[in-house]
């Protein structure tokens, strides 16, 4: 099986869908000839033609409105928003239109669109190339949100998202494009080459939305994470010495509540990890759900390890980024009550 980094895996997913379904279209700012600023769509225009993969005007609202209209017609557009930070001009389109269309039209119309967007920090992108806005979407009824953590998952989840009849936000942790990153920023860069998660089949396969992965089994505590933080969690767990179970949510809506609940009921302790700022973040919902469903099994308070409640600060990347040391501390803290 070929080894692919996450960019190649995503590219392969798009290539597979462009080849097998003429309803698939791929577009966005700079995605056509150039292949996208992160090269995810590289070669697709040359291979599938300018009408299948093309550049759009610099207008996120227009891109998503166009995608919705195409979806209503019967196509399956895959739109790229160049950075997740720039998805907000399209927020009304996503929330008031894509997410509500099926419901309000009594099931007559729907928008089977996929919105891909590079996401998250760790690349010194400063305030507007680093944000993690997933909580804003998780609260919106009617859209699904997917965040992969490996090349294998990225391809399988993206194909599933494209084939989904509901609108899907697909956030790609840009710090994982070229290799896993565990938050140890002072160590040598790693690539995906040779890692089992980078063994990606050439053809069509799917990973169903709403199924979490148990990345590491453990007995003493549960760590909930997604995207880049899955790798940070591995490092943090190792550092802590705690026998923690690590769950990669893979999609935050739908959430695999059963896997989450079963794990915390087993371990009795829970730490939630995300890059986004803490207050009102997705971790709050996870904390509330776990508390509601596992209250009597909880041996210590659920901990959240998150970005601080500040904008993403360029020079302070590693002061802001919730790294393995902070997770390890949180794990030791939840273990205090044993």
């Amino acid at each position: 099986m070929p080894s692919m980094n996450m960019i190649q895996a995503l590219n392969s997913a798009l290539d597979v869908k462009l080849a097998d379904d003429p309803r698939t279209l791929v577009f966005g700012e700079d995605v056509g000839y150039f292949g996208g600023v992160f090269r995810v769509t590289e070669g697709l225009q040359a291979k599938h033609g300018t009408k299948r993969c093309f550049d759009t005007p610099l207008s996120e609202g227009g891109i998503i409105a166009t995608a919705i209209g195409m979806g209503v017609y019967g196509l399956r557009p895959v739109a790229e928003i160049q950075f997740a930070d720039y998805i907000l001009p399209a927020f009304d389109q996503i929330v008031s239109e894509a997410a509500r269309l099926r419901y309000r039209s009594g099931g007559e119309f729907w928008a089977p669109i996929t919105i891909r967007s590079p996401y998250g920090g760790g690349i010194f992108g400063g305030q507007t190339h680093s944000q993690s806005p997933e909580a804003l979407f998780a609260h919106v009824v009617g859209i699904k949100t997917v965040i992969p953590s490996t090349p294998y998952d990225a391809k399988g989840l993206l194909i599933a998202a494209i084939e989904e009849d509901d609108p899907v936000i697909f956030f790609e942790p840009k710090r994982l494009y070229n290799g896993p990153f565990d938050g140890r920023h002072d160590q040598a860069l790693r690539t995906w080459a040779g890692l089992p998660e980078a063994e990606v089949p050439e053809g069509h396969y799917k990973i169903p939305l709403g199924k979490a992965a148990v990345v590491r089994e453990g007995a003493e505590a549960t760590v909930l994470a997604y995207g880049t933080m899955v790798h940070v969690a591995k490092a943090g767990i190792a550092d802590s010495g705690v026998d923690a179970e690590l769950i990669d949510l893979r999609s935050i809506v739908p959430l695999d509540i059963e896997t989450v609940t079963a794990s915390v009921q087993k371990t009795g302790r829970c730490v939630i990890l995300h890059e986004a700022s803490r207050f009102g973040g997705y971790g709050a919902e996870l904390s509330a759900l776990v508390q509601e469903r596992c209250f009597w099994m909880l041996k210590s308070p659920i901990e959240r390890v998150c970005g601080w409640d500040t904008p993403y600060p360029h020079a302070f990347e590693w002061d802001y980024f919730p790294g393995p040391a902070r997770l390890a501390r949180a794990l030791l803290k939840v273990m205090e009550n044993s």
Binding site: L25, K51, T56, P57, S59, G61, G62, A65, T66, A67, I68, G69, M70, G71, V72, Y73, G74, L75, P77, P89, D92, Q93, S96, E97, R100, L101, R102, Y103, R104, S105, G106, G107, E108, F109, W110, V141, G142, K144, D165, D166, G210, V253, P254, I257
Partner: protein
Amino acid sequence: MKKPPLSLYIPQPPARPGDKARFDHLSFDLGAAARMPDWRTPETELRDLPYGLVRVLGVEGSAWDPHLAPEVMRKGLRAMVQTRLFEDRFFRAHRQGKVSFFMKSTGEEAIGVAQSMALEPSDMCFPTYRVQGWLLARGYPLEKMINQLYSNERDPLHGRQLPVLYSARDYGFYSLSGNLGSRFGHAVGWAMASAYSGDTRIALGYVGEGTTAEGAFHEALTFASVYRAPVILAVTNNQWAISTFAGVAGAERTTFAAKALAYGIPGLRVDGNDFLAIWSATCWAASRARANLGPTLIEFVTYRVAGHSTSDDPTRYRPKDEGEHWPLGDPVERLKDHLIAAGHWTAERQEQMEAELFDELREAQKAAEMVGSFGKSKPPVSEMFNDVFKDPDWRVTEQRRELGI
């Protein structure tokens, strides 16, 4: 050099309650017949059009006359009258507590009706709430329409939407929503998809003149122009956006049709109370779209005779009699008079038709009331939980259970 102080300009409508109604700020010359260029003409040679006014009714020998067969005009008249009667009836139904909310298009009926008829059944309209006539012209079942208004058990939208916010796929009528402007770009995307698919269907999108100020308006036009989408983009300039006069949307400076010039596409300014002018302009734009010549922006100049909705009282912000001074007349009267003058219609036949339509409406309302008017009947509560996604997820399933349904 000492500079004079700046001052902030705030637009004011020509008349407020108590003032004499005035429309002399509208820059059109009713006598002048607009030229009708061949629809294949490149945009660079059409840049004067947005400043004229396309008219047929009342203009001797207008180049834009579509020369419609009398029965087509009679059908249009019928749908317009039906629209007016329908709206009057359900406006009253609101006062009787039978609907929770309602909106009328009085004075603007020609637009939805003529466009509905002039376009192909398979073309797709992305409407505003002000074109109920589209559905009536296409024979949408009255009772079903009323069930939607009543949010009753047979409401095709399952009680999920405010009255008037219809959705009618089989009638080429896209799902409405309260949000203004955000579906204009869907018309463009749909049209691009049709073009991509080698289909022959074109799209029509509507916004009110007030809504042209939304960013979504500009984005839709930009995409339409860049990809030459086969779409007609219509601005119904009815002079008011709730209490705000069109000047606050930019009408003090230029026409809405002139917004086409920003995108290098043709812009037509059309008498929106002239059934024949609307028809003709629609066909002209449709010909361009069907020939891969791209989008056309059409401004329909009209007047919102009624209040904005059942929640509005227009006498609070404009002269009570403003509508009577509207220079473009009433679309129903104008078409009727034209048909009568041409010997294709009579006052008696009009009366008879109105009576028929009245009875039909009354019957349909009765039938819908048998199901139940607002609050007397509603779809099963489980419909509250359906269609959030194609398949329900555990949240909705659990919450249904919590509610015991």
